[in-house]
Amino acid sequence: MYQQEKLAKGIDWVVVFLYIALVAIGILCIFMVEYNPEVNWASAFISGKTEYSKQLIFAGICALMAIFILLSDSKLYTAFANLTYLFGILLMLSTFVLGRNINGSKSWIPLGGGFNLQPAELCKIFTSLALAKFLSMQELDFSKLKSQLIAAFIALFPAFLSITQNETGLALVYCCFFIVMFREGLPGSILLVGFSFGVLVVATLIMEPNTLAIILTVIAIATIYILRKKIKRSRRILALIVFLWAACVGIQRFAVPYIFNNILQCYQSTRVYAMVGRAYDCTQNRSSIQKLENNKTYAKPDDYNVRQSKIAIGSGGLFGRGFLKGTQTRGKYVPEQQTDFVFTSLGEAFGFMGSLTFLLIYLALLFRIVKIAERQRSVFSRVYAYCVASILLMHIGINVCMTIGLFPVVGIPLPLVSYGGSSLLTFTILIFIMLRLDADRQMVLR
């Protein structure tokens, strides 16, 4: 009786409710994708052979895990934060030895029985904990560059390992920790620079090189004209503007094409170009040229996946085509629809209204988490909660944008909805640790 009271006390039921709703929607979506009119769905749900029944089993495991976390002591997480981070890094390094190649990325450790573990997925929890631990150190002054660099290293080291495992998508997720750091005092200009760089890259992809160069030059001249009085006082501003202009043109002229032709693989460049609606010429790509020289044919990439996914979502219209009536889903036109492209089945079946409702549930979850974060007394809990919110945002943003053609295709699951035990378990742990910490919000944790 006492145990139960303790378990229930202080838990934020709104988050729990939203969590359950999302997992349920996820199972429903997977059911829509897998649905086969010839098979009795009731028995298929129990059989454990179809992916929706597997997801149901995963959900059960996750429920046990959630109860287990809620029963645990919140001091445990502060105590073991650094240790688990180390463990996570070791786990990621071990994939180089034990790793198994799934869908082209060698980031999975086989656990036997057909289950595979993706350490990079789990490592998000550990990184969040470690970052929270680091930022909550009493003697830390986060305005110093050195501590900013250490925090960035904690966040980006797993991302680096992830890239070496050819899992670019997950690496992108680790960028979300900058949002957390921003909350904790990272200068806003860094985000601004990052954002401007992103705009510049997209502009480079969309526009003719010369047009863009002219536009940049015009902006530079206009700035000089506007700031002419200040420039008269200080020559350094002029130097800064000229330097920025040169950097921008340099990026646009040399850096971006270099990255696309020499660093990225052909299929990656194609996906990025497809995002802005342009075709990429693979004959310029170094890796494909190499393959040609080695007399291997390289598969010509195609934006089939995004095209079909856009058709599926676009055909939904305002109210959707109805439950189990989506032709794109029934005809299995969208590859990977139960995992990364699960949003398409929803968009097709329930249309704009359904997608809107679905996204609002997510937004509500995010707002609730931010609210939770802001009511924490301890920095550790707050940072951790922000980490959870940012990770969720990053996943939702990239995954949904990918399905609607606003972001290149990278393998990132939709939190709590996509099929996959690894992903579901990670987010469950992530969220319930936060709930556990929140339940003890009156304590000051270090």
């Binding site: 305002l318 249309g351 809107l356 995010l366 007394r377």
Partner: protein, 705 residues
């Protein structure tokens, strides 16, 4: 705690970032789902498979209700390569189809290339009955194979190929010209004969079924529960005036002959029989037989696919004479008792026009002149018509005469309800102006009076002319179709043109009676007195036209019974002789069949005699022989080529031994080279084959995952 609320204002910025991200997503969703209708279309193009359900084509019946053509189901042997990978008893299959395993693999490869592994493709089209039975029996041994039905036209009487027409695949041009009529590439449509002109009636209404298909184009089930499907409506049948007995008899009589015959019911204009010879069994062009026969039919110099009955242009010869008499009578240049003193030829124009009769008095009046077909008499009255002082000049007189001819239906298209009709030729004055300058007289064209010169008519027009005489001045446009099953407004208006009585000729009944009397005399005492229709008196006119390099063209027009005509007929036999010898018996037997529905024993014997007679010109046999020898030459050439590898290697071997034996005599250059090249080429082909087959297999395995 100082650090606790540090930077708290930034939480708002972070919430702002969240909202911006979601707003961008919403905006794109709005764009995709509400403002881009193309995605819905693309989804439907992806997933909805439109299957056209073909209704049975309408059937064509003869006047007694026999089906002249009918539909049967033929079978294609199809294969779905993806399902035919395991457990196919290839050896048995190859044995039944008479192919080897290389051919089997080649066909499988073709099927995969054409239609992918997941969709059925034709493996062996249009099975013969024996093949169908064998395959059906053994089908359980061939998983992935199936027998696909396909309706095909069949012709139980084996006649009427030329006017029934045939079906053919629609061409790109046809699809462009008929955009909204529901045709798809690969559909069949009538391309000749009645199949073409009554296409809309016969084709029925196509049904459309919509199916859901998946990303590999496999059918998943009906779309939206079949709510958008339309059912197929069977084609409507045609009831024609054809008498299949007369038609069959006519085609039998025309065996081994070139020519045409058309029989029309003068009371309705309905065509009773239309024979064009040489012809072919329409079943020969059924899809399963098509490839075997089309080459010969299309290329043979006797042109079996050419409908001579409506497109053959023949000089009518003496069968024109009754018309000439009618024109002369109507113009008043002669009266029935007008006579001409013929002494065996017509000399008035300098050139001698021979007449078959030379005894005095054989052209003492019109009746006699027609009965004995006096050339001089009709040359004379033709000249009198043209030179009629009423018109002032022969040109005007000629134009007036030509006008009469048009009213008789000559020199114009009659408008029969099958395509390909030609108008014949009644020369314009322009033609004569061109040839003779502007100074020509009736003598320049005097043989026109006996149906020669440049006058050409089609057998259909001749038969129609006979109708006009039989009807005393009016006719209905000749046509096949009497009525259409479940007639619709469009059909009625189409058939209305065959219900219009054409009576432009204002020739008096007395004039007609005078000519009719002459034509009756032809069968009593005149040129056709030896040919009888048992039980009926009939009126007729024989004709014999000279043709360069060939024997005479035999022509015969007739109608029967003489008092109340129900059949009018025109018969043309090329390279035959006198009209009374060849054309008249054919016409008489056909009329007998129509009127009595049976033939007497004598007639049957005569039918056998006529059907055995071979009147095909020698030239055609020569041509065929040349073709055959050319083909044989080609086959020999191919055989030689295929043997050449073996021969050449043998030769090289012999040369080698000779060289060895003689101690280094130079062998003939080139021979070893070719062997080398050929064997290399063969090796390449073999290599390519072995490489291609497993390669495509593995790639499909990958795709299946």
């Amino acid at each position: 705690m100082a650090t606790l609320n540090n930077n708290q204002s930034r939480s708002r910025i972070i919430l702002g970032i969240f909202i911006i991200v979601f707003a961008i997503i919403m905006a794109q969703l709005l764009n995709l789902q509400l403002f881009s209708p193309k995605y819905r279309l693309q989804a439907e193009n992806n997933a909805i498979f439109r299957k056209v359900i073909y209704p049975d084509r309408g059937i064509i019946y003869d006047r007694k209700g026999h089906a002249i053509l009918d539909n049967v189901i033929n079978f294609d042997f199809t294969v779905t390569p993806a399902e035919a990978r395991k457990g196919v008893d290839t050896a048995t299959l190859c044995e039944i189809l008479g192919i080897d395993s290389a051919e089997y693999h080649k066909r499988m490869l073709t099927a995969i290339i054409k239609n992918s592994s997941y969709k059925p493709s034709t493996f062996e089209p249009l099975l013969t009955k024996e093949l169908f039975a064998k395959l059906n029996e053994n089908l359980y041994k061939f998983p992935g194979f199936a027998l696909q039905e396909r309706p095909v036209r069949t012709y139980p009487f084996h006649v009427g190929a030329n006017f029934l027409g045939r079906l053919g695949e629609v061409s790109a041009n046809f699809l462009e010209e008929h955009p909204d009529e529901g045709y798809q590439p690969g559909d069949y449509t009538g391309i000749t004969g009645m199949e073409k002109s009554y296409e809309k009636v016969l084709m029925g209404q196509r049904g459309v079924k919509r199916f859901l298909r998946d990303n590999r184009s496999r059918i998943q089930g009906p779309y939206a529960g079949g709510n958008y499907d339309t059912t197929a409506v069977a084609g409507r049948s045609l009831y024609t005036s054809i008498d299949i007995g007369v038609q069959t008899l006519g085609e039998k009589l025309f065996q081994n002959k070139i020519g045409a015959a058309v029989a029309i019911n003068p009371k309705t204009g309905g065509i009773i029989a239309m024979v064009s010879a040489p012809t072919f069994d329409p079943n020969d062009l059924a899809p399963s037989e098509y490839r075997k026969h089309i080459g010969y039919l299309a290329l043979d110099t006797s042109r079996p696919m050419y409908n001579r009955a409506i497109a053959g242009m023949y000089p009518p010869g003496s069968t024109y004479k009754p018309l000439g008499a009618l024109i002369a009578l109507d113009e008043g240049v002669i009266n029935p008792s007008y006579g001409y003193d013929c002494r065996g030829a017509y000399y008035a124009c300098g050139k001698r026009v021979r007449c078959d009769e030379s005894w005095a008095g054989h052209a003492a009046n019109l009746k006699l002149a027609i009965a004995h077909s006096c050339n001089a008499y009709f040359c004379n009255i033709f000249r009198m018509t043209v030179d009629n002082p009423k018109f002032g000049s022969p040109r005007k007189g000629y134009a007036h005469w030509r006008d009469y001819m048009h009213k008789f239906g000559f020199g114009t298209h009659l408008g029969v309800d099958i395509p390909g009709e030609r108008g014949g030729n009644i020369p314009d004055t322009i033609e004569y102006n061109h040839d003779y300058g502007n100074r020509w007289v009736s003598c320049n064209m005097v043989t026109m009076g006996i149906g020669q010169d440049r006058m050409t008519v089609t057998p259909l027009q001749s038969a129609n002319g006979a109708c006009i005489i039989a009807n005393k001045g009016w006719y209905y446009t000749p046509h096949f179709v009497d009525s259409i099953e479940n007639p619709q407004i469009g059909d009625t208006s189409f058939l209305a043109r065959y219900r219009v009585k054409h009576s432009n000729l204002k020739i008096s009944d007395a004039d007609f009676k005078a000519v009719q009397a002459g034509m009756e005399d032809v069968t009593e005492v005149g040129t056709a007195s030896n040919v009888k229709v048992p039980g009926y008196s009939y009126a007729a006119k024989t004709g014999t036209a000279q043709v360069p390099n060939l024997k005479n063209l035999a022509v015969f027009i007739a109608y029967a019974p003489a008092e109340n005509p129900t059949i009018a007929i025109a018969v043309y036999v090329e390279n035959a002789g006198y009209g009374s010898a060849w054309a008249a018996p054919i016409a008489a037997h056909m009329m007998e069949k129509y009127l009595n529905d049976t033939l007497t024993e004598d007639t049957k014997a005569d039918v056998e005699r006529l059907s055995k007679a071979n009147l095909i010109p020698r030239q055609i046999f020569d041509w065929r022989r040349r073709q055959d020898s050319a083909r044989e030459q080609r086959i020999r050439e191919e055989e030689r080529k295929s043997d050449s590898i073996a021969l050449a290697s043998e030769k090289a071997h012999i040369e080698d031994s000779i060289r060895l034996a003689t101690g280094g005599n130079k062998p003939a250059p080139g021979s070893t080279d070719t062997t080398n090249r050929d064997s290399v080429a063969q090796a390449i082909v073999a290599d390519w084959r072995t490489r291609l087959w497993p390669l495509s297999f593995t790639s499909r395995k990958k795709a299946g995952k």
